[in-house]
Symmetry: C2
Subunit: 291 residues, 2 copies
């Protein structure tokens, strides 16, 4: 998202923005007997050219002859390589995601991460709120995404966040990313508290973006300073609660799902209360689900 996508106005109701979509522009994507995602109607032609799909007027079904997750994974991997060469899969990652009909549901297949966006699948993530206390005040470390990231370059993000790769647990991903992105090792990350989950179901450009983010809180020593390790993060900044509140309710500076994670943190920690502008919309937006 760039400044030109900024919804404008003084109040940014991300609870609503992150749950806004026009599903009439999409057709359901089904495999293994489960409704898994949403394909934009402009991509139905691409899908129709592949024998592995059955294209009905308002439905795309992946190979009814493919009986096992492994068979589906192999069939999609083969066409994904061809699509990649055609240039229709931006941001190739070389990471496999589990494809599930709902978080915690059966793994119907595995799919290259970049491809999951084209099918509108649920992306499972792990986000870590890194914060410090200064007396009664709370300050949060936030990451500035690298200008070279394929998605949402230059926007704000959680201190640590990553997609849950197939066969890893959310907590293992959080610990791995803490080290890779922020130089936070096992010694410091001891009390990684799993405290929430945040969902998003949003149309973004011509894809349906559905996220289920496992949320962890990590209280850090006051003198700790995260340092960018890999190239994913441009830098880290320490935000007092008042500045955080201004940014998540009054700007489009955060990546949308990360904005929700901050709102959820502020609500859980009693910094955004009933009576505050955007409190009620934020709470409702955080209760909209991902299905």
């Amino acid at each position: 998202m760039t400044a030109s996508d900024d919804p404008g106005g003084t109040a940014h109701d991300w609870g609503s923005i992150c749950n806004t979509r026009d599903l009439s522009r999409y057709v359901p994507f089904v495999a293994g007997g489960f409704h898994l995602g949403w394909i934009h109607r402009t991509r139905v032609g691409l899908v129709r050219a592949e024998r592995v799909f059955t294209v009905l007027p308002d439905l795309v079904v992946l190979g009814e002859g493919l009986a096992t997750p492994a068979q589906r994974t192999a069939a999609v991997a083969e066409l994904a390589q061809r699509w990649r060469e055609l240039g229709v899969v931006p941001g190739w990652r070389d990471e496999l995601y589990d494809v599930v009909p709902y978080p915690g549901g059966p793994v119907v297949m595995r799919m290259e991460r970049a491809l999951t966006r084209l099918f509108g699948l649920i992306n499972i993530g792990a986000h870590v709120n890194g914060y410090v206390r200064d007396g009664a005040d709370v300050l949060m470390w936030v990451a500035r995404r690298s200008p070279d990231k394929p998605t949402y370059p230059g926007l704000l993000d959680q201190m640590v966040a990553g997609g849950v790769i197939a066969s890893m647990t959310p907590e293992a991903v959080a610990r791995k990313e803490a080290w890779e992105e922020a130089g936070i090792g096992a010694g410091l990350i001891g009390p990684l508290r799993q405290t929430s989950a945040v969902t998003m179901f949003m149309e973004h450009g011509d894809v349906i973006s559905r996220d289920f983010e496992h949320v962890f809180d990590l209280e850090l020593p006051a003198d700790f300073v995260p340092r960018p390790v890999d190239a994913e993060v441009a830098g880290f900044e320490l935000y007092p609660v008042d500045k955080l509140l201004d940014v998540v309710t009054g700007s489009a500076e955060f990546k949308p799902d990360c904005n929700l994670v901050v709102l959820d943190f502020l609500i859980r920690h009693d910094h955004l209360r009933a009576g505050d502008p955007l409190y009620q919309q934020s709470v409702l937006g955080l209760r909209r689900g991902v299905l």
Copy 2:
């Protein structure tokens, strides 16, 4: 709910149970241009007998000639008294609730609390998790509802909980109920932290039960013992986390919405984690909304 309503089995997935309903048995209830609730089809005859309603095949509309909230409130109050005399409004409370299309939305009218159930309206509540720390352990004070309560007699409840009466804030209700139900005065209740909100949208008997509960956490001194003050509570019990987990995931001992409030507390406080049985279903159940 009594023992005979117990869904049975060893695991009780309250996140799902509290979001299970068959809306085909109900017709939408509309007033002031807003969809407000759900009326069971067996009650459409009762409604049809009142001139103030327009009954369409699959819709009930309250008096299109009633232009203001005050006019709607007066019209419904008049028929509510007659229905009360007919015996079709169990559990009369003499408390007015704001009627809203969604939490935080415009007040379309006010209505006697007992009547809101018949119309499937959203009930706004305020629940307080009262807990104490014992070293690294957490114990929660829970209330046993009086056997004489009109709804859910004898079941477990939050230490303090109440419906948000018209013109009161959720926090004011929490403080009032803390004093009335548990003898907790202003001195002890200083740091009442607003930390979450829990939704429920459940068919219970022949009504649609929709709740939006503002959730507060209150850490109490280890030597504090709540005492029943009014007749709403039979007594208080102190539950360690392990016992709480067993009860909310393995029994029907809690009033359903209160069960969700405990699950939400256990998740936020890192006592119910990814990988635990029922974690994922509980999280999803807490993200299903109330609309």
